[in-house]
């Protein structure tokens, strides 16, 4: 155990499996024949297309504007022609519209996306300019949740953020995309962090790196040395150390209140990859059009870390790295929180951190909860997943609400540890969804009651 290293209460230690791809430098994936740029890249309203079918676009050109404040703009990942705009599968399962671009092979940048500022000038920008450049570049959180970054950078005036945390934990097994970015681009990570600290008016920036990545820690430490207010700290190796609330607890010893956001604890957490994207957007005016994706798992012939354009499909990645016989699961993201996929036409999103092909067999039938308490011990959100699971099994959604189901971060520790093999997180996700539907129904009924009588139901 890494005694003495900061961490949180609970958690677990799944096999890391990072040796498959951790020592492989980032490779550039050639641009495929068709790119599917989903209009629903992250949390929030889908983007609105601003280009028409048949139109020529160049890399970095705005092709869809944000559909609201909590929404991110979308840019052409390469130069080419818009083939169509229509339905496209989405990793979350619902269908979303996408702009399909046929690359012309030239991969030419749009002039708007080449506004080199230079390091000095970029670091001298004020907070407002940084946020507006981040917003224009369509940056979302690249750790997985894909929350628009400019929203996180614009907290309400009564919320004071004093610390920006860069998340370099990458606690999900198999994934090494962030690790490679930390090794290969530490300078840009730290410069991005300086911009983030400035953007929210914080006084310090901390990079948290799990203790199983000493090389990354060392390189970042070298970069932050001499920069006022910045530090790089090691945290214990434990899943889910990279969850933002757990990282805040480890580094600042502050608890994000129930139902609250990191800003309620005076902190802002960003992924290291996002920091690089922020630096690129501000210093070079380059919008987010590519990201590093780890392609790994027992059933991938040549695992690796690929720098690919937003919009390549999972099928393109699999074709590039080869799939072995016996593959049973396709997962977008890590094995703990990632989403199982079935359709190779699903495109890579701004928040896609990995693609895993595993031979994991079907889980055994679950049995009744034996109340061993392993899930309670492991829950980093201090919930009682055993109780929540039985409530879910009996469809007692209201009771789940009383047991704070909405504080669940869906990290999957409970399900991973459960000796009765109960699909606890699935019940919790269903419970959250049912509670949402119940709320909608209750609000509709309330509205109906409040409506003046005598008005026809039509």
């Amino acid at each position: 155990m890494h005694l003495g290293l900061p961490t949180f209460r609970g958690g677990t230690h799944p096999p890391e499996m990072k040796e498959l791809s951790r020592d492989l430098p980032v490779e550039v994936l050639p641009v495929p024949e068709l790119l599917a740029c989903s209009l629903s890249q992250g949390i929030g309203a889908p983007a609105r297309p601003v280009v028409g079918v048949g139109e020529e676009v160049r890399r970095g050109q705005l092709i869809a504007e944000a559909g609201g404040f909590v929404s991110a703009a979308l840019h052409a990942p390469t130069s080419g022609k818009v083939r169509s705009i229509g339905e496209c599968p989405h990793p979350v399962g619902l269908r979303a519209n996408a702009i399909f671009i046929e690359p012309d092979g030239a991969d030419e940048w749009h002039p708007d996306a080449r506004q080199e500022l230079g390091e000095e000038a970029a670091l001298a920008l004020d907070a407002k300019e940084i946020v507006s450049k981040v917003q224009a570049a369509g940056i979302v959180g690249m750790g997985g949740a894909a929350f628009p970054t400019h929203v996180k950078l614009s907290p309400p005036p009564d919320k004071k953020i004093d610390t920006v945390i860069l998340n370099g934990c990458e606690c999900e097994p198999y994934l090494t995309a962030d690790y490679r970015v930390m090794l290969e681009r530490p300078g840009e990570i730290v410069k991005g962090l300086r911009l983030l600290v400035k953007a929210v008016g914080a006084s310090r920036g901390i990079i948290g790196v799990e203790a199983n990545k000493p090389e990354a820690h060392e390189r970042l430490l070298r970069e932050v040395r001499g920069v006022e207010g910045l530090s790089c700290r090691m945290v214990a190796v434990k899943y889910p150390q990279g969850a933002e609330k757990q990282l805040i607890k480890a580094l600042l010893n502050r608890e994000v209140p129930s139902g609250g956001l990191p800003m309620d604890a005076g902190a802002l957490v960003q992924n290291v990859g996002t920091s690089v994207a922020v630096w690129e957007a501000v210093a070079s005016g380059r919008p987010l059009t590519e990201r590093v994706v780890t392609v790994s798992g027992e059933c991938v012939e040549r695992p690796g870390n690929l720098l690919c354009r937003i919009g390549v499909t999972l099928g393109d990645l699999l074709a590039a790295r080869g799939v072995r016989a016996g593959a049973r699961r396709l997962i977008s993201g890590g094995p703990m929180m990632g989403l199982a996929q079935w359709n190779p036409e699903v495109p890579v999103m701004k928040g896609t951190s990995g693609l895993l092909v595993l031979d994991e067999p079907a889980p055994p039938e679950h049995v009744a909860c034996i109340n061993c308490g392993k899930c309670v011990e492991g829950c980093p959100a201090h919930l009682m997943p055993n109780r929540l699971s039985t409530m879910g099994e009996r469809r007692n959604w209201e009771a789940m609400m009383d047991w704070n189901v909405l504080d669940c971060i869906e990290c999957g520790v409970c399900t991973y540890q459960c000796p009765a093999k109960r699909p606890i997180v699935h019940w919790i996700k269903q419970g959250k969804n049912e509670l949402r539907l119940l709320k909608i129904r209750a609000e509709a009924e309330k509205k109906k009651k409040e409506a003046p009588e005598g008005v026809p139901a039509e």
Binding site: G93, L94, R328, A340, Q341, W342, N343, A362, P363, G392, P423, H426, W427, K429, Q430, N433, E434
Partner: protein
């Protein structure tokens, strides 16, 4: 008894017999306290009695007592209170049917608006034979949970997921999961309570009334090409039904045949025209059931005689 006790007490006090005296005193005092409290309770029960409308109890007795909630009130007693206090309709009890509606109406002294018996019908015939799975689903065996994972494994995004959330929700065992992978409604047992309607994540159940004999049993709004790939018994929007109908009662709306029951005459022309066989006519089944019920009734009457 009190008097006897008292006499004993007095006697004991006079005789000066120590032990008997003590016991008797104790008993006497307890009896006195008991009597006083009893009197108090008696007075309180009269003074603070809660007046219950006898009609609520009468209605409660007439209701089936299954507490299905199909009426929209919390259980049978909740409905009984609502009928008396809020004046809601007397025929909301689906399981009870006309008989209970009559009884409730009798208590309330009103006439029943003859309630239309409703039965549930599933708008999908996509059995395993006609559909396929997009992927292997390992999660919670519940349609609502499965629907959250890429909209379920079934090839059709509108069709029945076949995990039986409706079967579990039915309080009357009127739904059974068939070996073919979709649930079947046992019309004899269905009371039209509507539990399956809310349980289904895809809104595939409708409560079919007396006038809705002809039903389209598909819910897919996808274009014909996609439907064809997903399911062999899905509505492809070919409009044959529309062209056959003499009463302008069936139209393909948003890729799905939809019947206007104000115009439908249950002639069954569309049933024959549908190339997918997904328009069903329940008129025959309904008549057969009616005849069967009448026969049973006359037999019962004969036996009673």
């Amino acid at each position: 008894m009190f008097a006897a006790n008292f006499l004993l007490l007095l006697a004991a006090a006079e005789s000066g017999a120590n032990m008997i005296e003590t016991v008797a005193w104790g008993g006497g005092v307890m009896a006195a306290i008991g009597g006083a409290l009893g009197l108090l309770l008696f007075v309180a029960s009269r003074a603070f009695a809660v007046q219950v409308d006898p009609r609520i109890e009468a209605i409660n007795a007439a209701l089936p007592g299954v507490n299905c909630g199909g009426c929209g009130y919390p259980g049978c007693s909740g409905y009984a209170e609502a009928v008396v206090n809020e004046g809601v309709a007397v025929n909301l009890c689906a399981p009870g049917g006309a008989e209970v509606a009559g009884a409730v109406a009798g208590v309330m002294g009103v006439a029943v608006d003859d309630s239309d018996r409703k039965v549930s019908v599933l708008a999908c015939r996509g059995t395993r034979e006609f559909t396929s799975d997009k992927f292997e689903y390992f999660g919670v065996k519940d349609c609502r949970a499965a629907n959250l994972v890429h909209g379920g494994a079934k090839s059709c995004r509108f069709g029945c997921l076949g995990l039986g959330s409706c079967v579990e929700a039915c309080p009357f065992d009127a739904l059974v999961m068939g070996a073919d992978g979709i649930p079947h409604v046992i019309e004899e047992l269905c009371t039209g309570c509507g539990k399956c309607v809310t349980a289904c994540p895809r809104d595939l159940f409708t409560l079919r009334g007396e006038k809705q004999n002809v039903v389209v049993v598909c819910a897919s709004h996808d274009p014909g090409k996609i439907v064809n790939r997903a399911c062999k018994v899905g509505c492809i929007g070919c409009r044959k039904c529309e062209k056959t109908c003499k009463f302008d009662a069936i139209h393909v709306v948003d890729g799905l045949a939809t019947i206007d029951y104000d115009k439908c005459k249950h002639c069954g022309a569309c049933v024959k025209a549908c190339p997918r066989g997904i328009i069903l006519n329940f008129r025959g089944a309904r008549r057969a059931r009616k005849e069967r019920l009448e026969k049973a009734e006359t037999a019962a009457a004969r036996e009673a005689r």
